[in-house]
Structures are given as C-alpha cells and as structure tokens.
C-alpha cells in the first residue's frame, strides 16, 4: 500500500472508496434494535449534503467545527464534512461539564458546534455567552428540543436540506473545495487533558493522520474487511485513529453501539476483528466471567478450571506459534471447542485477530488470560502528539513489561536524563495558539519529548517505560533510579500494599513497606500466628521474612537489567502504620507522596542509610474522627539479598 499523494485528505479518500467499493458498508449504527448501515456511496451523499449545509452557515477554510456526543455516524460524517471544506473538526469529550467545554470552545475559536442531543445543547446554551465566537449550534437528536426557539439552533436534517439546495445552486462548489484540500492542512485538532494547566489543542495535519494510519495498517496487515466497534470517546486520539482514519484508509466498516450501556452486547453482535480497549475494560470483562463462573454448576466450573489451567500452560505458546507436544495441542483444540471458543464468543472477541491495549500498565495475569485464550492482545505506546503510534509489540514478541518496538517510520532516542524522545511522520504541527508549549515539547528538528522515562530492554530490544521522566533520578554511581517502577514491582505482590523507595543521590536503594493487612493477616492466621493488630503483625520476624522474599524476587528481577541492576533494594523496613491520606501521606487518589513521607519519617530514612538494625520512632496520627494521638514503635531494619547484575544477555528471564 504505497502512500498515494492524490489521496492526501479524508474527503479524497472517501471518494476513492465510492469508486472502489460503493456498495460495501462504511458505517453502521444500531437504531431501534436493528443494525442500520450506510454504504460508502450513501455516506458520501450524506457528507456532501452536510458539508454544503455547513458552508451555507458560513463555515470556511481553517475555521473550527466542534463535535460533541457519543459515537454516531452523523458525528463521524460531520468530521469529513468539515474537512471537505478545509475546516478543522474539534471533537470534545461528551461527558465533560459545561465549564470544561467553555474553555476548549473559546480557546479553539469554534464557530459551529455540532452536538448529539438536548443534554449537549443545554450545555452549549449555558456557556454560550462565554464563547462569543460560537455562532451556530446544530443538533442531531431532536428529542426534547421541540420548544427551543433560538434562531442559532439548527436541526441536523434542516442543515442537510439547506446543503442540498446550496449544492443545487452551486454544483461545483463541493468538488472544488475538496480538490483544494492538501496534505499539510490541519486535519483535526484534539485536546489533550494534561495533568497541569489547561488542555492544549494538538493540531495534526492530513499527512500526520493519514500516513500514521496507513503505517499501522501495513504493520498489522489490516484489510478492508475488518470489523471495528467505535465506542471510545470521539475526542480521544485513539478513536480518531482506529474508528475513523484507519477506516477511511483501509476501507473497513465501523459500527456505532446503540447506547453507552449496550456496548457489551453490541460487541458480541458485531464480533470485531480489530479491537482496542484500555486495561480496565479487559479487567472488567475478566471479572464478569469469573463472577458468572462462580454461579455455574460444579461440573461446568470444573471443566472451566481444567481447561483454563491448560490454556495457561500452553495457550500463549500456541499463540506465539511455538511448538508444543501433540497431546497438549490436541487438548487445547478440545478446550477450544468446550471452553475457549464459547467464552470468546460471550466476550465478543471470537473473531478478533488483533486487540490493542494502552494507556496504563496492564496486570500480567490479565494479559496472559486473554493471550492464553488465543486472543492476540498487544500493548502499544502512543501519544496524541504523534497520532498514537510510537511503539507496538510485534506478533509473537509480546511481554507484559515492555511496549514493543518502534512503529513504522518512528525513530526513538533516549535523552541523557532517561527521557524517551521520538520523531515520526505523525508528529503534530503545533499546539494551537501556544508557541511556548510547542517549543518546549517539540525540538526544531522534529523530536518530541514524551515526558516518560524508559530504555530499550537488553534482552529483546523492546522499549520499556519505567516512570515519568521528572520522577526518575540517579544513584551516586550513576545508575538510573526509577522509584515508581520498583514500587510497582513490589506492589504486584499481594502482601505488599504500599511501597516507598528511596535512592535518588544516595549510594543504594532502600524501601519502606506497608503490608496488606488482609493478605498478610490471612497468611498469618493460616499459620496460627497470634497478632493484635497492624503494628504487632508488621513487627514480627516471620512477616519480615515474608516481605524479604518478595523484595529478593524484585531484586533478582532488577539484576537482570544492566541499567537498573544497581538500584536493587539493599535495606528495608516495614512501617509501623498504614500510610494514610488523612495524615497527608497519600493523595486522595491513593498515590504515595514520596517526598512528604521521606520528610515525615526522616529518622527512619537516616536509619536505613546507617548500619543500625533498629530504630525508635514516635509518630503523630490522625484518627478518623479528627482527634490525634501518638504512635510509638521500635522498627526493625533488614537487609535484602543482592544479586549480581547481569551484563547484556540474550537469555529470557525465568
């Protein structure tokens, strides 16, 4: 699939599909319980009428059209309609409150907002006086809007009628506007949430979007026969890539769910071949399956657990096309008939050839569950600033802790401070009206700062993301110190609830541990150990040994890596109290405030870096009713096992 320069905008791609596959379904939507579909030719007619209607409202080149609502064919068409006029679609998160929308609408200089329903219209009316540039509001669903009489409010169908008349009067207008579109024009503007400050409008050119979409299609061998369910917010770059750009480039059909609440059953009916979901969706699906299995009859439960055990053993190998014994292979085939197939069918993933996940770390056991069923789920690493793709896991080389190899045409380098930087044809034009942020994110020769720290794994050459770059430090010997990376490894053990790791500008790493009272308490009870509460349990030698075993495993894991090997945890202690948001030790979203904890327990940190084996500590605690009290304890300090750091090896980790 060569990059065809004649097809450098979405309206042009649309017309190529009208020629190539006019009667093939372009988009579907479930309405009144039935899947309604529109062929490429029908979609093109709808889009043409809408584009002319928008033109008759005065939308011109480079002006902005906001799009707000659930995934609906009409909203996707409005993107192409705007692009046909050279205008820029700006999709917004539909569940944002009016205030958040006001900022984006104003910042983006939105002229027309095309929204789904009354709920969104009400928000627009609420903020209209704060967005003086917003001239018109078009709504798709008329329900509840019968008595709205403002003259700047328009029914979608009326605008299309206007468009048909406009087209009749100026029959060459639409084709001329489409022909005037170019590769370097802004194709779409997507706002990134940004953890601090206001959201920023990422401007992506037609080339950015189309070349990246095409590269993704080439790498995964996608065709015009894929089935995709568009259910993630239209304002999110991933939806724009998977449900819009790649559909237009490859020519496959996209289906819109009936309602946000029916996604699971719609997924099952459509049976997508190409699917994206954030980790929590996969987690929820797995939980649902497990809950339903609990309720199943014993014989079903037994069959399920027998075959799932077998899948765990050989499923991933079979997916990776590694050789397994004949017996295992036959048993897996039987399992496929009895368990895996029906299960995938219930999940709606029976036909799925390619499933992506991204956004946050996915638990290895969840990842392996799906892969062992034969679903090719892979992680990718991406950003809005480059139209998603930075790294993708290649088929057969999928590891839970890496994000794969660079996508096609993507160059990656690791900055001196460990920050990942990339350059690709997808790299955005600029942040809208924000030259300072553009300059601090994108260098003059096109490299983009990701803000993430990482490195290429010695073993397999895959990129590994370890932490936000600003949190990564160095030990005195220069070893990379990525506290969150180590803490997350520790927290994968059920016995460890929280971990706080120190080591920046020190000689070695140390850790505070919070045990998980439920898990450790349960463990202790099964061994008939007596304890009176957290503080008592946390001080016992058996528990120290239990935690030491966990830390030793993490150290062993770290030692496999030449860059992080020296940051193995040398000494640790188990805190005498649970870290608590009421004491300011955690944020309200339960993230550890590492520096605050370090200051609060500075004598413990000092003790970890001395040769003492015990430390006395007095701590003021806040009870739930707001009273305070003092907590006193003698805390033991233990040494963990340190493993020799391996040089670069090609052996797979055990």
């Amino acid at each position: 699939m060569e990059h065809d320069t004649a097809l450098d905008t979405f309206p042009k791609l649309l017309h190529s599909h009208v020629k190539l596959r006019p009667d093939q379904d372009a988009i579907r939507e479930k309405a009144l319980g039935i899947w309604q579909s529109w062929s490429w030719a029908e979609a093109a007619t709808e889009i043409r009428a809408l584009a002319c209607g928008l033109a008759s409202l005065g939308l011109k080149r480079s002006e902005k059209l906001a799009i707000i609502g659930d995934n609906r064919p009409r909203l996707y068409w409005s993107m192409t309609a705007a692009q046909a006029l050279g205008a820029v679609p700006v999709p917004l998160y539909q569940d944002a409150v009016a205030d958040e929308m006001a900022y984006v609408l104003d910042n983006a200089d939105v002229k027309i907002a095309l929204v789904e329903d009354q709920e969104q219209v009400d928000k627009m009316l609420e903020i209209r006086d704060r967005c003086p540039k917003l001239e018109h509001i078009i709504f798709d669903d008329t329900r509840g809007l019968r008595h709205y009489e403002q003259d700047f409010l328009h029914d979608y169908e009326k605008i299309q009628q206007l468009g048909v008349e406009f087209d009749h009067d100026q029959p060459d207008f639409y084709d001329q506007e489409v022909a005037a579109g170019s590769a370097d024009e802004t194709s779409i503007m997507l706002y990134t949430s940004g953890t601090t400050g206001h959201p920023k409008g990422v401007m992506l050119s037609n080339n950015n979007v189309i070349i990246t979409a095409r590269n993704g299609i080439i790498r995964e061998g996608l065709t015009s026969q894929e089935e995709v369910l568009a259910y993630l917010p239209m304002a999110w770059v991933g939806d724009n890539l998977f449900s819009y750009a790649q559909s237009y480039v490859a020519g496959f059909c996209v289906s819109c769910p009936e309602d946000a609440t029916t996604v699971a059953s719609d997924l099952r009916e459509i049976g997508p071949t190409y699917y994206f979901a954030p980790p929590r969706v996969y987690e929820n699906m797995l939980t649902q399956v497990m809950i339903r299995m609990e309720d199943a009859a014993k014989i079903k439960r037994d069959i399920f657990s027998y075959f799932m055990e077998h899948a765990r053993k050989v499923g991933v190998k079979i997916l990776n096309r590694e050789s397994v014994s004949l017996k295992d292979s036959l048993l897996y085939k039987l399992g496929n008939i009895l368990v895996y197939g029906p299960l995938k069918d219930v999940l709606g993933l029976r036909r799925t050839r390619l499933a992506y996940t991204a956004g946050e770390a996915i638990g290895p056991e969840i990842f392996d569950f799906y892969r062992s069923l034969g679903i090719n789920i892979k992680q990718l690493y991406g950003q809005t600033e480059c139209m998603v793709f930075i790294c993708v896991q290649p088929d057969g080389e999928v590891f839970a802790d890496t994000v794969g190899t660079p996508a096609i045409d993507v160059e990656i380098k690791i900055d001196d401070n460990g920050e990942i930087m990339y350059r690709s044809p997808g790299v955005f034009q600029s942040y809208y009206k924000n030259p300072e942020s553009t300059a601090s994110t994108k260098t003059e020769d096109g490299w983009v700062h990701t803000g993430d720290a990482g490195f290429f794994d010695d073993k397999n050459g895959h990129l590994k993301i370890i932490d936000r770059a600003k949190d990564v430090g160095k030990l005195n010997d220069g070893t990379l110190f990525a506290p969150k990376y180590i803490e997350n490894k520790l927290k994968f053990f059920s016995f460890i609830k929280e971990a706080v790791v120190y080591g920046n500008e020190r000689d070695f790493s140390t850790a505070f541990i919070n045990i998980d009272l439920d898990a450790v308490g349960n463990w202790a009870e099964r061994r008939n150990m007596a304890y009176s509460g957290y503080i008592d349990l946390a001080g016992q030698d058996e528990i120290y040994q239990l935690i030491k075993d966990c830390i030793d495993k993490v150290n062993q894991d770290l030692s496999q890596d030449s860059r992080l090997g020296n940051s193995q945890i040398r000494r640790f202690l188990i805190l005498h109290k649970e870290l608590d948001a009421d004491d300011g030790e955690l944020t309200r979203t339960r993230k550890v405030r590492r520096n605050f904890v370090g200051d609060r327990y500075d004598i413990l940190v000092d003790a970890l870096y001395s040769d003492r084996n015990q430390c006395h500590v007095e701590t003021q605690v806040t009870f739930e009713d707001g009273r305070t009290g003092m907590l006193e304890a003698d805390i033991n300090i233990w040494d963990a096992a340190i493993y020799p750091v391996s040089a670069v090896t090609q052996d797979a980790a055990a």
Partner: protein, 264 residues
C-alpha cells in the same frame, strides 16, 4: 413554555361519590383535566387518590356522579372501553409480567393496536406479520425514548425497581394514550431515578402531547411538573388550582401537617 399547549377540556368529573359498604372513599368530587396538561392529584395516605384514578379508567364504578371524556358523558365505563378510548395507566404496585422481557411487556401494551385475528397471528404470515413489524417498531421507539435499550431482552422481574417503573411507563405509552394516568411513578426511587422519571414525564407530555394525570407524594416533584393540582383528603376535595395557590392554601397545609379531623 408549557402554558401555550394546553387545550380545551378533555375529561370532566362531576360530583363523584364512591363508597365501599359504609366506607365513603370519594365524596362529591368535581374537577376537570384539560388536553395537554399535567394534572396532579395529591393528598395524604387514604385520601382516595388511587380510587379516583380507578374511577377514571373504569375500574371502580361510582354510586353517584358522572364522567365526561372527550365529550361523551357516562356514569361508568369498563376498563377495556376506557383503554380503547385512549386512557392508559401505571400502577402503584408494579403490575408487569415479571417473567417476560422488557420488550415483550411493552409489546403487550400494543395489544389494542393489533387488528389481525388469532388465525393470522398464529401462522405469522400476511397481515399479521406486517402488523407485528409495525408494532415492534413502535415498541422500539419507546425503548429508545426511555433509554432502556440495555434491558430490552432482560426478564423484567430481575430488574431493579426504578427500571421496572420505567418499563411500566413504557407499556402504558405503547398504547399511544391520549390520557395517561400515573399512580405514584416515583415512589421508592432515589433522587437520581426521580429526576430521570420527571424528565420522561415532561418529555412524554411535550413530545407526544399526552395529557397526564399524576398521583405523587414528593411535593417538590408535584410543584415542578404540574400545571394544576387537585388536593384530596379523606375522600373530600380540599383544594384545586395552580401549584402556587395550592402550596399556600391553609387547609392543605393543615391536612399535611396533621391537624386532627372533626369526626363526621
């Protein structure tokens, strides 16, 4: 905004009295309901509100008085006659077919719209088939309207209470009524469910122009939704008027605050 759509008199109730043995449930009640309005009936427990609705849709037969519906005056009307004349209702205690799906329950509301006979329906060919498709579409429009797509195929008995109430409203709407009687549509709901239900009641009224008579206990809801409010207490008519008038009526306040009644 609501004012302009209210038309002429749709239903007139004159001097209705209803007794069960020596128990006088309704005593000389007269009021009217205008086309397109939302008319609330309020009152303490046992005031006779549900009995009033039962009289309107022909379930109870009053000993005295008359009812004029769409210009036709009659002393009593059988429920199926009321239904075929465009009166539909929901019940205080949900009266759905628990083992049937949401869709099937709503389809039963289309019963009166079905014209083909059992023979065609059993064969499911010809006119019966066309008719079923039409009715299915009507049911689907209601499902869409009430936002219950996700429970379309779920047995109603397994749904939470608030959703069952919504399905019941759906079944009443399926009959495309001109007058919709709602008996405590929001009882037992949390505030979010109430808000949704209020939205639906208003939407039914404004989208389909359906006239609504509503019994409700939540005063905030009543005052917000209603065009006019009728107040009953121990079978007697205490007040009748705009929400504001009723709110400030001393007798009504007394009844609600529990001033002891004189023994008749």
């Amino acid at each position: 905004m609501i004012e302009h759509k209210i038309g002429g008199e749709m239903l007139k109730v004159e001097n209705i009295s209803l007794s069960f043995g020596i128990m006088k449930v309704l005593d000389d009640i007269s009021f009217d309901i205008k086309r397109g309005e939302i008319r609330s009936i309020i009152g303490p427990n046992g005031a006779g509100k549900s009995s009033m609705l039962n009289v309107i849709n022909g379930f109870y037969h009053p000993q005295q008085g008359s009812i004029t519906f769409k210009g036709e005056t009659r002393k009593q009307m059988a429920p199926h006659v009321a239904a075929s004349h465009g009166i539909a209702r929901t019940f205080q205690n949900i009266a759905l077919f628990k083992g049937m799906s949401t869709l099937d329950n709503i389809m039963t509301g289309r019963n009166l719209k079905m014209k083909t006979n059992l023979f065609w329906q059993a064969l499911h060919i010809g006119p019966a088939r066309t008719e079923e498709l039409e009715n299915r579409e009507a049911a689907e429009r209601i499902i869409d309207f009430l936002d219950i797509q996700a429970i379309r195929k779920k047995p109603v008995g397994k749904l939470p209470y608030g959703l069952q109430k919504r399905v019941e409203l759906g079944r009443a709407l399926a009959a495309e009524p001109e007058l919709l009687l709602l008996d405590e549509p929001m009882a037992g709901m949390n505030s979010e469910e109430k808000e949704d239900m209020c939205r639906f009641v208003l939407d039914v009224n404004s989208e389909f122009g359906t006239t609504i008579a509503l019994i409700e206990h939540d005063m905030a809801v009543v005052m917000d939704l209603s065009d006019r409010v009728l107040v009953l207490d121990y079978g007697k008519q205490l007040a009748d008027g705009l929400p504001d008038e009723v709110r400030n009526n001393q007798t009504v306040i007394d009844a609600y605050l529990g001033i002891p009644h004189e023994q008749d």
